[in-house]
Symmetry: C2
Subunit: 407 residues, 2 copies
Amino acid sequence: MTKRIGLFGFGVVGQGYFQIAKKQKEKWIPDTIVVKDQKKRRPSDIKFSYHAQDVFDKNPDYILELISNTEEAYEYVTEALKRGITVISANKKLLSAHLPELISLQKVFGGKLLYEAAVAAGIPVITTLETHFEEDTIVSIEGILNGSSNYILSRIFNNGLSFDEALRMAQQKGFAESDPSFDISGSDVASKLNILILHAFGKFVGEEQIATFGIQNLGEDEIALAKSLGLKIKLIAKAEKDYRGISAYIIPTLVEESNLFYGVENEYNAVKINSEHLQDQFYQGKGAGSLPTGAAVYGDLVKARNGFSYNYSKVNFDKPLDEKLLNLGIKVLVKCRSEEIIENNIFSTEFIERVDGFYFAVGKVKPKSLNKLNELKEVSLIALPDYLSAEDILHELKEIQKSGELI
Amino acid sequence: MTKRIGLFGFGVVGQGYFQIAKKQKEKWIPDTIVVKDQKKRRPSDIKFSYHAQDVFDKNPDYILELISNTEEAYEYVTEALKRGITVISANKKLLSAHLPELISLQKVFGGKLLYEAAVAAGIPVITTLETHFEEDTIVSIEGILNGSSNYILSRIFNNGLSFDEALRMAQQKGFAESDPSFDISGSDVASKLNILILHAFGKFVGEEQIATFGIQNLGEDEIALAKSLGLKIKLIAKAEKDYRGISAYIIPTLVEESNLFYGVENEYNAVKINSEHLQDQFYQGKGAGSLPTGAAVYGDLVKARNGFSYNYSKVNFDKPLDEKLLNLGIKVLVKCRSEEIIENNIFSTEFIERVDGFYFAVGKVKPKSLNKLNELKEVSLIALPDYLSAEDILHELKEIQKSGELI
């Protein structure tokens, strides 16, 4: 059975898809490939188009939306869904911004939208939430969801590189963009967590509401502290639900060796799901790369062909999907140049200590303060595991200071 | 939409299913529950039946087969499939013995058979192989697939218990049967690996062909050796495919800290899949227990309701499903009382050393010898990671001998 397929975008993911499709039993080669930049050098044996309408004119069965521009993607995907076409998307920014509307369009016009590749690339987390966990109650979902940040942290902790050296290396390897701010500020992770929250809890919170703090200000001092405690720092995204509601945040976190995230290195992603019946599960796999991401797109096409679609069965469509997040304190170590920042944002403070021109404090931060703090230069925050006391941290900071490791 | 459901068996898994179903939006409570033992004490508020025919008389939409007897299960499942009924089974022995026939019956009569709970309990490995990996080429699949054995090994390595103490503790906790031989001899794992091989490679090898060596003869000496090298022993099942064919075996294996299986403890199971495009993925979750296993059964029912079935798309139905396994040597440390056993079964021997009445040797063993060796008392085998040299092991054995740790 031949399928007419239209493809938008021929970047890393689109090329990965194309390379895989050519080798398969079912060579789902797109009839039309629409790209934007007419001047870019492209393979001469593939015919490209520069007009979105060319895709729709061919009356496709499937559309693959693998571009990065959110506005254009919105236009193509909504147009396709209104025509009842099945769409595969890898565009986390689009999905995170417009999921409620995109779900409605599926319901109204009968098209389908699958997007496994948009979160954690090769790990089938959305499919698993929609099938295996469909009738289980999810308590929490947690993950390492950005390959670039994780690669940088691996190079810092395993190879002794500085943050700047590690970032340059990530860029050389193609894991980070020339402007890496989306990745290292946590913004990319917020889109993904926002999507996961919808599939785990049936609610749409919106990524601007998700408390997000990135790794961009991580300094030598916090790194030395983590190392001297035998711990690593990982950029962890977490959402949990209890009787009060949902809380969600993204923050660099100290993790101990027994934590499953401790061993997740380089461009790998991982997701931990805790539920009432299936209990705790952990999935790890490549979170970036042309082939794993392209394979997730190809896999969605196979699933769609088999009649699979997301049921969104955790969503109660009789109520608004929107949900306000809880604003519960997170225990953190904060480092900054100004005592005022600490006084204005940290509560239940256990100590404030001045070391070599920086203020260090352990206390709690409200998620609502995080996004604002994330904009400031020279403010660094790390979430602390429960077992670590403020005394241990202060003691260790002083030891590091004595040995002259602090800058 | 009410579904008529017949349930065979009310043991650990059946009770887990029942407990979950009662709480769900869709309370899929069985119309008929058939149990065998009329004298066993059971909940007074549930009506039980003792005749299999009672299930069929109700003309059920779904049958849950959650018993342990293979012959009876075969009878009920084939009968149901011949009537085109959808069956959910957790019976790895049944599936491992009869999968080719059970696949044919689905094709001929249009019934469906799902069995996620039969392998690695709560981990959705079969569903993921059948969906996400449907069109990817699997290179290898590896796992910790028996919760009892893994629990015993955890207690030995983390709590310093002897094998016998750990086994007793596993029995007290309900993780091991009063006759634990199926679990610790690797037989249970062989059934599961046989099922995974069919879904990963599309071939039926039969569990009697899978080289299997259990943990039942693991002695203080090998445990001391592993510990002194900073390693753990895990019962690893592995199947891999290359241009020559498929090889598969189950054997206690020395694993280093960087191996993902190193941190899989207690009743947890884990599966590592390596494929051409999605590359390496790792899944960990509860591999035993009433709720996780019952939830996997409930999950299959939800998937079946959604129209999901296994496509067996890696199977080439124009050819016989049967496949002979390759017989490639595995590098092992062997310990036994007789030099003859080593001479007859180990090749490329790197050393034989007599220590306190035992012979220790490092060399290679053919998978075909493993099942026979597994029957012998006082023969212990451990697979070695590539990086460990025979010299390192010999040196460490001598150190242990000097310090008097060997029995």
